[in-house]
């Protein structure tokens, strides 16, 4: 197995290792609690269609930190600064989901690096669930902390 590369060293065009997961009712329930999202749509099947996955769970599990190839040095963090998100279909509890990440831009502003990652979630049927264009910066390790301008 090849050694993991630190996330900030990924170049434009490179892809992180994809993640596959299947949301159980128990996992969904954990995120309902986390977000106080007590809506029937996340708890009950309706008309034979399984409950929807809490969107916050999809967002949390499509951050670059969830890629199996994600790596930072000790004392270093990837910090989410902005994003564009587009929803195409609700994800359903019990369906296998796949997340892919591709670095599409890298720039510096005021001495800080910014990495832009095109992120998709698609389900086992090939149904598009959402797309995120995520911009992260890095803090700690070789980079400045939050208070340093």
């Amino acid at each position: 197995m090849s050694e993991k590369k630190r996330i900030d060293l990924y170049q434009v065009g490179e892809e992180l290792e994809p993640l596959e997961f299947c949301v159980t009712p128990e996992w969904n329930a954990q995120f309902i609690e986390a977000l106080e999202a007590y809506y029937p749509r996340y708890e009950k099947a309706a008309k034979g269609i399984p409950a929807a996955v809490v969107p916050g769970l999809l967002i949390a599990n499509s951050n670059v930190t969830r890629s199996p190839s994600f790596k930072v040095d000790p004392g270093m963090a990837a910090v989410h600064t902005k994003e564009d998100v587009e929803f195409f279909n609700p994800a359903r509890v019990g369906k296998k989901l796949k997340v892919t990440w591709k670095v599409i831009e890298y720039y510096e502003r005021r001495g800080r690096p910014f990495q832009v990652v095109d992120t998709w979630i698609v389900d086992e049927d090939g149904t598009k669930i959402l797309r995120r264009i995520i911009t992260d910066t890095f803090m700690g390790g070789p980079y400045k902390g939050a208070k340093e301008s």
Binding site: F31, A52, P55, A60, A77, D84, V85, K144, G145, K147
Partner: protein, 143 residues
């Protein structure tokens, strides 16, 4: 809770329910699944020491939490159908520590008739207990 309707006008404001970002909820969101013996995972969201090692003074609750609040506000306003076409762009502008209270809000900025339906462009944000915005952006929804 007030709702956006076809009669809503530019400047109208709606808000979602108040959320308390407790440490327990941060752990549920960012501590991993399933809960095992080492749960919650230590990271800048869940662990003060991990945050300080990265140059951040406090735990930093995940911005994805506030994004989740805003998605639910959009679904409250436009129905579950919003998950078939909804778009948001967001900037995360302030760190949120445990026990902050946040309220998601939206203000109508533009309104466009599209056949029998009306498309609204909203300025969205979450505000903390001091009235400071922690995430800002725009979203689109159709009534």
């Amino acid at each position: 809770m007030s709702k956006i309707t076809k009669d809503s006008v530019i400047g109208d404001e709606v808000s979602g329910k108040l959320r308390t970002v407790s440490l327990e909820r941060i752990n549920c969101f960012s501590g991993g699944y399933p809960k095992g013996p080492n749960w919650p995972a230590k990271n800048i969201h869940t662990d003060l020491e991990a945050a300080r090692q990265c140059g951040i003074d406090t735990r930093a609750a995940s911005g994805a939490m506030f994004e989740g609040y805003l998605v639910d506000l959009m679904i409250d306003q436009f129905g579950e159908e919003w998950l078939n076409y909804g778009k948001m762009n967001l900037a995360f502008i302030k760190i949120v520590d445990k026990d902050y209270t946040l309220i998601p809000k939206a203000v109508v900025k533009a309104k466009t008739e599209k056949g029998s339906r009306v498309e609204f462009t909203l300025e969205i944000c979450c505000e903390d207990q001091n009235g400071d915005k922690v995430v800002v952006g725009t979203a689109v929804g159709v009534v």
